[in-house]
């Protein structure tokens, strides 16, 4: 089995390996089907434009799922994930590159819980305009329970 990360191997201040992907229309449409969340904001460019977005946007939960993949990849055992609080910020558009990441904030020696700050940045659409990264999820928290 994939061994869970050992509590004593985690250092406060360490960054967990980041995880990037391009948000593709076919994945968001597949997510709409798999989740049964068929809000037209996530299916229909024209509807999303009328609501003030540049085109259809990814579900917040789609982006959150990318973050939990990043955290469970790092920790090894999905059952170690015990707490998550995400604040959804900027909308994610089709073609955006998103990067999930996290940083260890504290370790509790008694409960063997590790608390992380976690985020998902939007690295832009590759148009090279040098704009600062925006955040789909930021100032958010995860906790994992390690042996």
């Amino acid at each position: 089995m994939t061994a869970a990360r050992a509590f004593e191997d985690v250092r406060v201040g360490e960054q967990i390996p980041s995880l990037s992907k391009e948000v593709r229309r076919e994945d968001v449409l597949a997510y709409a089907d798999a989740s049964t969340d068929r809000n037209p904001l996530h299916l229909d460019d024209d509807f999303a434009r009328e609501a003030g977005f540049p085109g259809m946007i990814a579900h917040g939960m789609f982006t959150m799922a990318h973050l939990t993949t990043c955290v469970t990849d790092w920790v090894g055992d999905p059952d170690a994930l015990r707490y998550l609080r995400v604040l959804f910020r900027s909308a994610v558009a089709m073609g955006d590159q998103i990067t999930a990441g996290g940083k260890v904030l504290e370790k509790d020696d008694e409960t063997k819980r590790v608390r992380l700050e976690v985020w998902v940045s939007i690295d832009g659409d590759g148009d090279g305009d040098g704009a600062k990264p925006d955040y789909a999820i930021r100032r958010s928290r995860a906790e994992v329970h390690l042996a």
């Binding site: 798999a34 969340d37 609501a51 003030g52 939960m61 994930l81 707490y83 998550l84 609080r85 959804f88």
Partner: protein
């Protein structure tokens, strides 16, 4: 507008979910999971799980039904299409696996507003077939006056 604060504590019709391998596999592929415990029962069992593990975001399947129930309530004051997901919080006792029979009674938590933005918390305490707690979820729904995209 604001959500109707009289609804704090209101409970809605129970939502149930039978977690099937097909639903978990489709969900895991859609979100790009690559850990085999999310994709394959054999790999999950070798890793010590009772069955294929659902990605943590599988909770979306319960949340969407709960939010549709609540926004269909004319007393709420905002329809499903006018609402965005602002925050999400979970406390897990364990992750969901294929074969779980989950149920929850959607309950409205806090309702508040800040300027022209209204917030409503939807609480889902999710239990399995034996009545054991699996995960507590709190979704914060946001309604912006004058459109979601601002």
């Amino acid at each position: 507008m604001t959500f109707n604060a009289d609804l704090i504590g209101k409970r809605y019709e129970e939502v149930r979910l039978s977690v099937t391998a097909d639903a978990v596999t489709r969900f895991a592929h859609a979100v790009g999971e690559h850990n085999p415990v999310f994709l394959d029962a054999t790999a999950a069992k070798e890793a010590g799980f009772p069955n294929q593990v659902a990605p943590p975001a599988i909770m979306a399947l319960l949340q969407i039904v709960a939010v549709q129930e609540i926004t269909a309530d004319p007393a709420i004051g905002a329809g499903f299409d006018g609402i965005v997901h602002g925050e999400q919080e979970y406390e897990w006792e364990r992750q969901v696996v294929v074969g779980d029979e989950l149920s929850t009674i959607p309950t409205i938590g806090d309702i508040r507003s800040k300027g022209s933005v209204a917030f409503m918390d939807v609480q889902l305490d999710v239990t399995d077939a034996s009545g054991e707690m699996v995960v507590r979820s709190k979704s914060t729904l946001v309604h912006f006056e004058g459109g979601v995209g601002g």
